[in-house]
């Protein structure tokens, strides 16, 4: 399904994207993900295709709002069955079926106020699914769920999507969810800045904003790197092209930066010198903040103790050329 929307308020957005199967909408906090989903649901004024001329109740969509927004005066199953017509018995049966799929069959008769955050979210998901819509709009459907529950819920969701062929547009910050997607669209600077399969987007972010969003801790201006280190030819020529037009940056994930004691020689990699500013334990790994020609962040896979990095120590930082990504610096 091709989506082409223009939204004026509260933020100006030009959203042009394809929703195919399970499509994830990534974007920084405040980028406008919720705004776009609401506009698609008909709850904010917007122009475009599809549906823009339809009243919200005529749009064949299922919408899960960010705050869940369960009906406080209806029990859990009635919340789910709200969108259904017909006899109570049939509606309840259908609601219970969906509740089972989100592992909440036992809570069908509870009041929504008595649910935990994650339970509410699952009820809201079941409610959005109940009418077999032609497009699912899910705003952060799993952010209140623990890993095991999330895996279960996503499995059920995928099964539903595949079974009925319903495309879903899912706004999320959850990179786990993004990795599962058929397609990832990134919202930045008021437009869909990149869309593609997750491996492509995660591997080749188009802009600095996208790179930061998907977890490239280091994005530095290309000219800074150029001055500080030898660059391989594969990077040089696009950089020169960039010099003619817009500015470029180089994005590197923290765990792709290798740290070495000063003086050690490295082959086939770009290297520069830096000082260790701070180290921070991170589960089984250690995050190391570096100062030098540019601020950098490295992630050493072993706990700190193993290598004994000292704060203030001068080190060589190296990165394999194929771990560097060229991105547009602005928008």
């Amino acid at each position: 399904m091709q989506i082409d929307y223009l939204i004026e308020a509260p933020v100006r957005l030009t959203a042009r994207l394809r929703v195919e199967g399970f499509t994830v909408l990534l974007g920084a906090s405040g980028a406008g993900k919720t705004t776009l989903l609401k506009a698609l649901a008909g709850l904010l004024p917007a122009t475009g295709t599809p549906y823009a001329q339809l009243a919200p109740q005529e749009r064949p969509i299922g919408y899960l709002p960010q705050g869940c927004a369960l009906f406080p005066h209806l029990s859990v199953w009635r919340n789910v069955a709200f969108g259904l017509r017909g006899r109570r018995r049939a509606r309840r049966a259908r609601a219970l079926e969906l509740l089972e799929r989100v592992a909440l069959g036992a809570l069908a008769d509870r009041a929504p106020q008595t649910l935990s955050g994650g339970q509410m979210q699952r009820v809201a998901l079941a409610r959005a699914l109940v009418r077999n819509p032609a497009l699912l709009l899910l705003d952060e459907p799993t952010n209140a769920l623990d890993r095991a529950t999330r895996a279960h819920v996503i499995g059920e969701l995928r099964a539903l999507i595949d079974q009925f062929g319903i495309p879903a547009l899912v706004a999320t910050h959850d990179t786990y969810l993004a990795a599962l997607a058929d397609s990832v669209a990134v919202l930045a600077d008021g437009r869909v800045a990149q869309q593609g399969p997750p491996d492509e987007v995660f591997d080749r972010p188009a802009t600095r904003a996208i790179a930061q969003l998907i977890g490239f801790e280091n994005v530095v201006r290309a000219d800074l790197v150029e001055r500080a280190a030898r660059l391989p030819e594969s990077l040089k020529s696009p950089l020169d092209a960039g010099a003619a037009g817009r500015e470029l940056g180089i994005a590197i994930r923290a765990h792709d930066l290798q740290l070495m004691r000063n003086g050690a020689a490295i082959e086939g990699a770009i290297a520069l010198s830096a000082t260790i500013k701070e180290t921070r334990r991170e589960g089984l790994a250690t995050r190391i903040f570096l100062d030098g020609p540019m601020a950098l962040e490295a992630l050493s896979p072993s706990p700190c103790g193993d290598r004994g990095w000292q704060i203030g120590e001068r080190v060589r930082v190296a990165v394999a050329p194929d771990r560097m990504r060229l991105v547009a610096w602005d928008g």
Binding site: G42, P65, G67, F71, P72, S75, A111, R131
Partner: protein, 265 residues
């Protein structure tokens, strides 16, 4: 139980005391009245039951009109933003504000037999003086603003997002109103209805002017007092309480029991 700050954070004595004090003060005259009533020789006066019938039947009719006309007005005032909204609010308050006697005179001027409205209505066979229609008219003016104001506040406190979600679930605006807005506003609506009911039932000043007949309870109380003295109002007043209180109490109970029995804490 949904407990607020004052009940969690402080020793409850002070609040309880204040509340019970205020309640007692309000109830005192009725307690005294119950005590002073000569229960032994209590008997209804001829026509009392007619008055009860008149009051109940026509007040219910007035209530129906109030709900039909007042609900859209209240919703509109709750959700629409426009210049001059404050003026609208003032206008709705006007009939509340006007002392009943003056309100009655205004209505008599407007709907009386030789006025434009009254004459037109009379030509259509609808007498607007001393008739059931006039009685209902008086009650509508007496009670509608209470309902509108309470309902408007109730609608205003319903989260529009819930209405919007209901739309995305394929319900028409009217279904949304019936299934979401009205149930969520039910407490305020019940309050508004209860107020409208008791105001309409108890209305004396307006009715005295534009509908001396048919005689409902308040006018009958007045007649009994003049005719027979104070003793004759005891029974009618008790009958009145018996007849009038069930509806508001029921409204209160229903609107609250409808709330899902929530948090068990």
């Amino acid at each position: 139980m949904r407990r607020g700050a004052l009940l969690i954070g402080m020793r409850r004595g002070a609040l309880n005391l204040g509340a019970i004090g205020a309640l007692s003060f309000l109830v005192l005259p009725f307690a005294f009245f119950a005590w002073a009533t000569p229960w032994g020789r209590l008997h209804a006066v001829a026509g009392d039951f007619d008055a009860v019938r008149v009051s109940v039947v026509y007040t219910l009719a007035a209530l129906a009109l109030i709900v039909i006309g007042g609900t859209p007005l209240a919703y509109w005032m709750a959700r629409r933003e426009f210049r001059g909204k404050t003026v609208c609010e003032g206008l709705v308050l006007l009939p509340l504000l006007t002392p009943p006697l003056a309100m009655g005179l205004l209505l008599a001027l407007l709907y009386g037999p030789h006025s434009m409205v009254g004459a037109t209505a009379a030509r259509l066979g609808l007498e607007l003086t001393n008739t059931p229609t006039a009685f209902v008219l008086a009650q509508v003016y007496a009670a509608a603003p209470y309902y509108v104001i309470a309902a408007r506040a109730a609608f205003e406190s319903v989260d529009p997002e819930l209405e919007q979600i209901a739309l995305t679930l394929g319900k028409t605006p009217w279904q949304v109103f019936r299934l979401v807005t009205a149930p969520l506003a039910r407490l305020g609506l019940a309050v508004g209805l209860a107020m409208a009911w008791v105001r309409a039932l108890g209305e004396f000043g307006i009715v005295l002017v534009i509908a001396y007949f048919p005689q409902g309870i308040p006018v009958k109380l007045w007649v009994n007092l003049q005719d027979l003295g104070l003793d004759a109002i005891y029974p009618l007043l008790w009958i009145f309480f018996l007849v009038a209180l069930p509806l508001p109490l029921l409204l209160g109970i229903v609107s609250r029991s409808y709330v899902m029995r929530t948090e068990t804490v």
